[in-house]
Every structure is written in structure tokens, then in C-alpha cells.
Symmetry: D2
Subunit: 215 residues, 4 copies
């Protein structure tokens, strides 16, 4: 089991190996970041974008929350964390691509589908329940089509990606840049069971990136 002391050991490894081996890269990163890609992923400990995409420091600007959700565009006062990150990445850092990545066995998607925390108080599931209400519309579609079996679970997980992308496009600065070709949005899905990555096409359907040799 990993604890903070293990993380500190891990830091010593990072510092004596990776950091020194990329000294030149870090020299450049001192002066600022200029990632071209933003990734919105789940907080789940199994879906680390830097691991799944084998990236280097400085390459991806990352938001992680329960179920990789982008809330609807709202300008009412309040603490809009995802909106702030999005605004910063797109309009200040000028990222050129945004990837929303869902995943299999997602606890947040499960909570959305089952409404398991329906009556829970804050601190007992209530916060999760409110947060995944972003998926309310998607849930109704999924249940209408698939009921509540395993197919529904997977569909719900894919819907986290589709819903977030739909919400992304409600931020005026997004479609504006998409139309002028300065920004592209991608959907992806990591199937934990087989380590399989799926990429969403323009039709909203997902296709596997797993090559035969690696199966």
C-alpha cells in the first residue's frame, strides 16, 4: 500500500533520474508552460493521462474531477473550477486540442446511472449526487435504450464524454476557435479491463486503438 512516505521515495527517484535526464527540458519549462493539448480526465487512480499517453512534463494541461465532467456554461457568480481551467487553457495558453477521456468501471458514471446517492446528505454522497446531475439528461437516454445492465453502464461511461464535449461547445470561445481551425476536440475512452483505448469519431461512436500485436 502506497502512502505519503512512498511518494517521497518516488520523488527521490524522479529527482535523481527523470529530472536529471531531462535537464534541458526542465530548463525550458522554468520560463513557462506552452502545452498544445488539454486533457479532461477522471480522478480515478487508474486513469492517469500521463501514464496512458506516455507524456512528458509540459506536454498536457490536465483537469481531473469525478467522471471527467464539464459543467454547462454558466456566467452566474460562483466558483466554476472547470470553466476557469478551460478559459485559461484555451484563451491564455492557446491549446490547440482538448481531449475528454472517460473510462470503464467509472464510479461517477455508476452513481449517475443508478442514482445511488439520491437522498444522501452532503458528506455522505450528496456532493457526488449533485455533481453527476450534469449527466441527468444522458441517463434518461441511456436507460430508455439499455435499461440498467452492463451495456447501460458502458453507455453511461461513453455519455460522460459526449456530455462533456457538448457542454464544452456551449462556451462561446470554443466553437469560435473550432470553426476557425484553431482548436480541435477529441473524445476518448480507456477500457480498464483490457487496457484498450477507444477514440470517438465525428458520429459519436468509439473505435478501438488496440493493435493486434499488443492484444
Amino acid at each position: 500500500m502506497t502512502h505519503f512516505t512512498d511518494l517521497l521515495d518516488g520523488y527521490q527517484r524522479f529527482r535523481t533520474a527523470d529530472y536529471r535526464r531531462q535537464r534541458e527540458r526542465w530548463e525550458q519549462l522554468k520560463d513557462g508552460q506552452s502545452p498544445k493539448v488539454m486533457v479532461i480526465a477522471c480522478s480515478d487512480s487508474r486513469v492517469e493521462p500521463a501514464q496512458i499517453f506516455d507524456t512528458l512534463p509540459g506536454e498536457i494541461f490536465v483537469v481531473r474531477n469525478v467522471a471527467n465532467l464539464v459543467p454547462p456554461y454558466e456566467t452566474t457568480p460562483g466558483l466554476h473550477g472547470v470553466s476557469a481551467a478551460l478559459e485559461f487553457a484555451v484563451t491564455k495558453l492557446n491549446v490547440e486540442e482538448i481531449i475528454v477521456m472517460g473510462h470503464g468501471a467509472c464510479g461517477g458514471a455508476h452513481a449517475a446511472l443508478t442514482e445511488m446517492f439520491h437522498d444522501a446528505a452532503p458528506g455522505d454522497g450528496g456532493f457526488v449526487h449533485s455533481w453527476v446531475s450534469i449527466l441527468d439528461e444522458a441517463r434518461e437516454r441511456v436507460k430508455a435504450k439499455f435499461g440498467s445492465g452492463p451495456e447501460a453502464s458502458r453507455e453511461m461511461e461513453l455519455e460522460t464524454v459526449r456530455t462533456s464535449i457538448k457542454n464544452l461547445r456551449a462556451f462561446p470561445f470554443i466553437p469560435e476557435r473550432e470553426q476557425s481551425g484553431r482548436l480541435t476536440i477529441h473524445g476518448a475512452y480507456f477500457g480498464i479491463a483490457h487496457g484498450e483505448l477507444w477514440v470517438m469519431g465525428e458520429d459519436g461512436e468509439f473505435s478501438s486503438q488496440l493493435k493486434a500485436q499488443a492484444a
Copy 2:
């Protein structure tokens, strides 16, 4: 420059190497996650917790947003993303430690200190401005003590950690678990310029973890 196609190449590397080399680990992760540590870090592309702490899939549950902020505890209706992640990690996954990690050259801390987006509309800095208002109190303390030079910048970055930890403790389920010894909270700070990790003591002061040999 890294784009989505590079990430897909990276996925092929991950799938043919790391994934296969940790087949046993992934076999266990299929059935669910059980991380013992939650990390709250900045979205900045240079401060990837999995890289800095050299962790494995399944080891850390991660929230990432602008300036690694935990908003104040609020039970008013709304989409509280960090609260949902916190509730899920602490009360459902039973993580035993939470690490809040700030970092040097933080754009969010800079925006808080300078109020540079004070009059900006949503989409032009307004979302960032609202989000970093979480740091309003801290900013006043920092400016009173350090004015607005480089010392103030660094202090503001350390304040993101202290403020988030203070806010964490306003969630009733946090101090409850801290007092019974089931949960520990740590503050950390990654200085990009020298790859130096600092850890916060009980007095709120930070001490370097950089060993002589790795300097």
C-alpha cells in the same frame, strides 16, 4: 510539439510496454480501485503528480484544477466538483492521506496576487478571476507582508496550499477522521526552477526534500 496523434503513439508504447509489464497489477485494478492517497494538484502541465512522485496506476486519486484549490465548504445546491471528489475519496474510498501540492510559477496564484483579470468578462479571464477569489483573504495577508515582488509570488503559491488545507478542514468528514487518526493531511510545493520538493510542517512552514546528492 505534442498533439493528439503523439498521445496515440504514446498509448501504443504504454500498451506494449508498461501495461504488459504490470499485467498482474492491472488484473487487480479491473475489479476496482483502492488508493490510499488523494492528491490535489494544479492543472499546470509541468506538475504531474504521477511523474513527480513516480507512482503506479491505482496508487493516487487525483484532482487537478487551477492553483490546486479546495473551495470553502458549502452545502448550497450547485455543482461542487472538488467537494464531490473529496467526498468520494474520503468517505467512499477511505483514502488515508490527502496531499495538496502547490508549485512555482503558478499562473493561478499569479492571477490571484495581481488581480490581473479583475474586470475581465467570462471567457476572457473572468472565470479564472472568480475561481481564484478563493485566495482573496490570503492575498491580503501576502500583500501586507511582502508587497508584490518575487517573495510575494512565492508566498502566494505557498498560500494556495495553506488555504486549500484550511478549507479541507471545514468539511465535517475531514476533521472527524483526522482526530480519530484515520486521515492525515499534507502540504507540498514543487519548485519548478530546481525540481525541488518542499513539504509543509505542522507550523505551516515548508522544508526542502532535495538531498545533497541530487542537487
Copy 3:
């Protein structure tokens, strides 16, 4: 500059990270090795087979000497180091493939081509001179065709592979196994200047494995 103390630091990283992450693999390796591949490579610090082929512990049985040479088959008494390794790998471990890998900027091939240590005493180049006499025949071919410019250097490096493979086949237990399909021999060449790997075809010519995307 790397010294033994750095290697000991490196061991601590290996032990706390890679070793633990492959615990299951090491559990199996405790009881014995069963590599399917033998690699004969140069001692040069830049051509580490485990790095270039990204292999794991237990995967390749490795001989390394100056210029990746296999001496001619000889049964006269004496200390035949490569013959011993070959015999052990092929007839005891039953490896199914042998790869001989040459490389660019090879000091041993250079010494063979230029005969620079022609009159050198043992300890002053004499041992190298004797050792690379394995390439005497090849040198004459190379010089006849290419003189002594850069083309000759490269051809000499490729000849280290062809000569070693020819010598391999003089060991009776090699062609015997090749003919019955139990053993395959491959030639390869690592061009340091561009990190390009070349693989030898049945005609003795080498073709690049560098894909466009990685160039």
C-alpha cells in the same frame, strides 16, 4: 560524470521501483532463466541491447565484447569465452534466436580497418589488434571495394555482423538447429548518429527499421 556511487544510487532506484513493480516476474526468475533470444553486441557504452530493444530482465542472454565478434570455431584447448556462452545459450538454454548487432562509430571496427594498433604491445593496443584480426579477411574485401573513407568505415561495421554470423555457422550445433527450424540468426546494426536500427536480410544487405513518424 557517472561513477560507482551513481551506480549504487541507480540500484536504489531499481530496487524501490522497477524491481518492486515486476515482483511477479522476479518470483519466476528466481528459479532459473529461460530466454528465447541471445544477443551478441559490442561493449561500447552507447549500444546497450536492453535499452535499444526495451527488454525486461530475463528476456535476452547477452554477450558483449569489442566489435561484437564471434571468433572462428576452434576446438584446441584454451579459454574460448564466446564459444562457451554460445554453447550454453544454444545447447543448454535452447534459445531460439541469435542476434548479432553491430553499430556506427565502432572503435573496434575502426581499429580493424586502419590497423592502427599494428605494432602495439599488449597493454598498448596489442590485445585489440589481435582480437580484431578476426576481421582480417573482411578488411581486405572492404578496402578493395571502398578504400578507406567513411563508406569503408560503415562497410567495416556491417562486416563485423556478417563475419560473426559466418563464424557462428561453423559451430556444428548452429547449422544443425537452423536446418531443423529450431534456431534463427539475425543481423542488426544500430546507427548512433540518428538512432536508426537496420536489420540484415538474407542477402546480407541491411534495411532501416526507422519509421517516418519517429524520424
Copy 4:
């Protein structure tokens, strides 16, 4: 099971990841190698120095043969592979340290101790038998002291290191450099069963480098 095609896949990973990430290092290595350390290790697939010491390309000049043996100093004509590598590393590359690393479960040490290939023909164990005759003296010492149980096996493995170091010092250019402080020789032993590295002291005894935390 790993075959040549897997090695070629591994090369693609190396080329698209490690090679590109160390572009600056490879730029320097193009012009020549200047390792400060030479490692003499066994061909066994489980004891890869670059993995155990977590080194980078260019850092260690490596000889690998059965049982990590250095033959006695001989100036009679012949193909002295280890002598050539040693001469090149010490007198041409000016390495400052030589490490001889033995290991547990060593097939070569086992063959030396048991004389299992005593009557074997070349190609059937005869080459191995001749090669490990370098250890004849050591075997007698070991058998006199430990008989032939597991203690004897381990002692025989340690003796491969001590014998090689003794033989190293018969090469005139070695003690000459040791005495003037330009060269240091180290003995090491990798215990496969627990991933434990042992380092030889001046008294020829080995002490563990395994720290409590990594056990």
C-alpha cells in the same frame, strides 16, 4: 515469450520515447563515448547492468560473458576477448572504475563447482568446462571449506568476482593505474532471490546495499 519481433517493437518504443527524450545526450554521444566506468558481468539474462544500476546510454562500458570472468594475463598469440576490451577501456578510454559483478543462481559458477561438464565434448558443455577452468583454484578452496551444499554455491559465485579481480591485477596497466589513483576496482554481487546488491570491501567480504525501506 520474447522473440526478435518483440525486440523490434521494443526498438520502436525506444526510438519514439527514450531516444527522443535524450536527444541532447545522443547529440553528444554521436561524436564518441567517454564512459568512466567499465562493468564486467555475466551473460545471464537476469543480470543486466543497465537495469540493475539504472544507467543511461554512454555511462558504462560493458563486457558480458559466462560467469563474469577475466582470464589470467597471457601475452601468447590468440584471441583474448576480455583482454582486448580491458585494454581498450582502461588505456584508450581511460575509465576510472571497473566493477566486476557476480550473481546468484549462476550457471557458470555451478558448472565450475560441480564440474558437471567434465567429459563433455565441445558443443555439449566442453566449451563451458574449459572456460570455467579459470575458477579451478577457487573451486578447490570452496570445496575444502564448504563441501558442496548451497553455501558452497554461493561462495563459488562470490569467488567468480574475487578471481576476476585477482586476474585483473595481473595486467600490468591495472595496478599501475590503481597505485597512482587513476583507477579503482570494485566487486559486486546481485542476489536474484531478493534483488539484493552486495558490494565487496577491501577484505574481500560482501555487504548488502539493500535499505530497510526497499526490503
